[in-house]
């Protein structure tokens, strides 16, 4: 992360601390650009929104196929929870890159460019689009771009895209009921009293 990003992330956390919200907001999504119209400064907060409700989604069918395939390489089904594409994550990513706000507009460029690169790289290596590759072939490409510090110089740009895409996929997935269940987040329910950590937790942390 750049110095500038670090500072912005740090600020996010700092601001959040004084009030509520989650603890570690590494919101490492870009910056820049101009705002158009979004949901406005006084939206209905009680409504159940779906991607596409406030601004139109913009992925082409081909982009959508690539996105779904990459989402599922990052978060596939396992014994604990389903794959990202089966719980609406591609819709969320579409909503994100279609949003009229500066940070999302900036992410849009990076995401669309990254998707294009992914299909071109797939063609180059295996003569097929990414979505049509075998999982082992998809992984071969992802292995080259999944960790920026280890990526070869020709893969650095793609590796940055992968960081962003993985963050978006995780944001989309772990905010669903299935994602919460996977992490065993069991809050957001009214309790008659707050008992603090149960004995097994105190024991686990050597606090008993």
């Amino acid at each position: 992360m750049s110095e500038r990003m670090d500072r912005r992330e740090a600020l996010k956390w700092m601001l959040a601390a004084s009030a509520t919200v989650s603890l570690l907001n590494f919101k490492s999504f870009g910056a820049g650009g101009m705002a158009a119209t979004g949901y406005g400064t006084d939206p209905d907060l009680l409504k159940d929104y779906k991607p596409g409700d406030v601004w139109p989604l913009t992925f082409t069918d081909e982009q959508r196929k690539t996105v779904a395939a990459l989402c599922d390489i990052i978060i596939p089904a396992d014994e604990k929870s389903p794959a990202a594409s089966s719980v609406g994550v591609p819709d969320f990513i579409d909503e994100w890159v279609s949003a009229p706000y500066p940070n999302q507009q900036s992410d849009r460029k990076e995401i669309l460019t990254g998707l294009k690169w992914l299909d071109e790289e797939s063609q180059k290596r295996f003569q097929k689009k990414f979505a049509d590759l075998a999982e082992s072939q998809q992984r071969e490409i992802c292995d080259d771009i999944c960790y920026l510090p280890n990526a070869k110089s020709e893969f650095k740009t793609a590796a940055k895209f992968f960081v962003k895409f993985r963050n978006l996929t995780a944001s989309g997935f772990y905010t669903t009921p299935q994602g919460w269940k996977d992490l065993q987040y069991i809050g957001n329910v009214a309790l008659a009293k707050f008992d603090g950590p149960p004995p097994e937790v105190l024991k686990y942390l050597n606090l008993d």
């Binding site: 992360m1 912005r8 992330e9 740090a10 600020l11 956390w13 700092m14 601001l15 601390a17 004084s18 009030a19 509520t20 919200v21 989650s22 603890l23 570690l24 907001n25 999504f29 650009g33 705002a35 400064t41 006084d42 907060l45 009680l46 409504k47 159940d48 929104y49 390489i73 990052i74 978060i75 596939p76 604990k80 969320f92 994100w96 949003a99 999302q104 992802c142 960790y147 280890n150 963050n167 995780a170 944001s171 772990y174 905010t175 994602g179 919460w180 992490l183 987040y185 069991i186 809050g187 957001n188 009214a190 707050f194 603090g196 950590p197 149960p198 937790v201 105190l202 942390l205 606090l207």
Partner: protein
């Protein structure tokens, strides 16, 4: 509710209050109880937390999974603030930028605002910032009122802790504050029976406490304006209004409708069960029930009007729904529009008699602008990995905190900065939101696939954040003034901000970073990023902590202060300022509780003077 249209306002009121947040709400509550007929003007829209708060809504139900945008800043989509933030449409303010010369219109923090010398958070809604604030409610201590006497820096307040202590008692009883009495230095206890019991600590808080003990850092229950249990509506109203059965009955009936916290959903969204303090659910309902409070919303006050004898007669305001300028009359004017906004109104109230703005014979209106020093650091704590699942939402904000622990070392000259800070911290198995697991690749070597899911389970809940909140000493380089050119949509000249941290604050911010790194390491954790050794990089921009105070300072000498010890203008007897403006110092104790206590004291005095016919 008697929200009146401007065409229906009475010909004249006893008191006009500008603003409806902590200061305006508290002022209205006290003055109405004393029998005054009050008109409150709020620049934003009417707002009802009971019907508008998205309790239990999940990030999935929000656009962009609730991530912050220029439309909904700070906490994002579910932030209680509507029509407000670091920027407000049609209501600019001017700042300086590190990268450019000259004056520039301020921007949202996410799109360039962090490059600014100052940021100014403004809500435009009934209840103001009380709707989304952190609700941390720490009393200033005896040292904090007399800082210059203690270490030679800054200024002393014209009042002492003992003057304000009875009002802290009353405010805590009225709004409901959980916490404990620990008998710590300059961290005052409340009298028995005032505080509500603190919630049990979370697992990550207990773990932090264990390791902080080894570092000599106290970790104790925080004081927070959230009802850990229902208030005693038989006892408290009688105690607060022993000679006023009507006010007591109105409070009792309002208090009964406030429920205890049910330990879920973030307080920053507001609270539909009224378990936390918001002006809209605590101060305004009993005041409205008296029939003596009228409120006009969407009323943007432009200036205070005066008569030829130098007395305030009322205010001019813009009815934002029509764009028309309106006037309202009263015997007494109370500005409670927030520190900088009240200063703006005074500076814009120019006349032949007051060419530099109203109540400004000292030249101090706008001066000594302060925010809180903020710095933060996060860490990953291996001991918290794979923790057995359990619900630790709790009160959404922290249950424990670290009060400042180095008063003696500082006064002995053993530290390189003079004033203290407290630490706010947290972590654990919170509601997963947008941005969760960003940066996780730094721990996993870039895992994806089934391995990523395993890593997510392992690391979820193992991150902790530490955030310092420290005292800023007032200085001559930090102030707001009227921009000579720029006007808002309503034609009202806007503020521009000068702001500069001194070495005192920069060194403090570095100390915060160092301390947080020590705590994280003591816990066996890994620091995320590097603790900043450069103060300018460690510290948050001015205004970022949203504790801006000063700008209409109180004092004991009319030559160098704007207000007397009762928040009454030296120059205009029937003009008061009861928000953060009167602050003379900005201790590390978050200002809202003190704003309310000070407003209560000022309005007691105001009511007494009015009865005596002195106003």
């Amino acid at each position: 509710m008697p929200f009146v249209m401007s065409s229906k306002t009475k010909p004249s009121y006893d008191v006009i209050i500008v603003g409806s947040g902590a200061a305006g709400g508290q002022s209205a509550y006290v003055l109405v109880a004393a029998g005054a007929k009050v008109l409150m003007l709020e620049a934003g829209r009417n707002y009802d937390p009971v019907s508008e708060t998205p309790m239990f809504n999940t990030p999935k139900q929000a656009p962009l999974r609730g991530a912050a945008t220029p439309d909904k800043q700070f906490f994002g989509f579910y932030d209680a603030t509507v029509n407000g933030g670091w920027t407000v449409a049609n209501e600019p303010y001017m700042v300086q930028r590190k990268s450019q010369n000259g004056w520039h219109e301020a921007k949202d923090i996410d799109v360039g605002g962090s490059d600014q010398n100052f940021m100014w958070w403004r809500p435009r809604m009934l209840g103001g910032r009380t709707n989304h604030w952190g609700r941390f409610s720490f009393r200033m201590g005896p040292y904090d009122f007399k800082p210059k006497s203690r270490d030679g820096l800054g200024m002393d307040w014209p009042i002492s802790y003992d003057d304000l202590a009875p009002y802290y008692d009353k405010v805590e009883a009225l709004v409901g504050v959980y916490g404990s009495n620990e008998g710590l230095e300059n961290t005052p206890d409340s009298p028995p029976g005032i505080l509500l019991p603190p919630p049990k600590p979370r697992a990550n808080e207990l773990l932090t406490k264990k390791f902080c003990a080894k570092l000599g850092i106290p970790v104790v229950p925080a004081h927070v304006a959230i009802l850990s249990q229902q208030q005693n509506w038989n006892k408290i109203p009688q105690m607060l209004h022993s000679d006023n059965p009507d006010a007591s009955a109105r409070l009792a009936s309002s208090m009964k409708t406030r429920l205890a916290c049910f330990w879920a959903t973030a307080c920053g969204r507001g609270c539909s069960i009224k378990a936390n303090y918001q002006s809209t659910t605590v101060h305004l309902p009993p005041a409205l029930a008296s029939g003596n409070l009228d409120i006009i919303t969407d009323a943007m006050v432009r200036e205070v009007t005066m008569d030829e004898n130098g007395k305030a007669t009322g205010v001019l305001y813009i009815d934002k729904t029509t764009g028309k300028e309106m006037s309202a009359k009263a015997k007494v004017i109370v500005l409670a529009a927030s520190g900088c906004e009240s200063a703006r109104i005074l500076l814009n109230s120019k006349s032949a008699k007051f060419p530099n703005g109203l109540a400004n014979s000292s030249g101090k209106v706008g001066r000594y602008l302060m925010d809180t020093v903020g710095a933060s650091l996060s860490g990953q704590i291996p001991a918290l990995e794979n923790c057995p699942p359990h619900n630790e939402d709790g009160a959404s904000v922290m249950h424990l905190y670290m009060p400042w622990w180095n008063y003696q070392k500082q006064i002995a000259g053993k530290m390189d900065f003079p004033r203290g800070y407290h630490i706010e911290f947290g972590g654990g198995r919170r509601m997963p939101e947008a941005g969760i697991f960003g940066g996780l690749e730094n721990f996993t070597g870039g895992s994806y696939g089934k391995k990523f899911k395993e890593d997510a389970r392992r690391y979820y809940g193992s991150f902790m954040g530490f955030s310092g909140r420290g005292e800023m000493i007032p200085n001559e380089d930090s102030y707001c003034e009227i921009d000579p050119d720029k006007k808002d949509k309503w034609g009202i000249p806007v503020l521009r901000f000068h702001f500069k941290w001194s070495e005192h604050e920069l060194k403090q911010a570095v100390h915060m970073q160092k301390t947080f790194a020590e705590i994280i390491k003591a816990m066996g954790g890994k620091v995320l990023g590097q603790p900043q050794a450069d103060g300018a990089k460690a510290i948050a921009p001015g205004g970022a902590i949203i504790h801006e105070v000063g700008t209409t300072c109180m004092g004991s000498d009319p030559k160098n202060s704007v207000l007397n010890q009762y928040c009454q203008s030296w120059d205009v007897k029937n003009l008061f300022v009861t928000d953060g403006g009167p602050f003379v110092s900005n201790a590390d104790k978050n200002p809202t509780l003190t704003i309310m206590a000070n407003a209560w004291r000022a309005c007691d005095y105001l009511a007494g003077e009015m009865k005596k016919g002195n106003l």
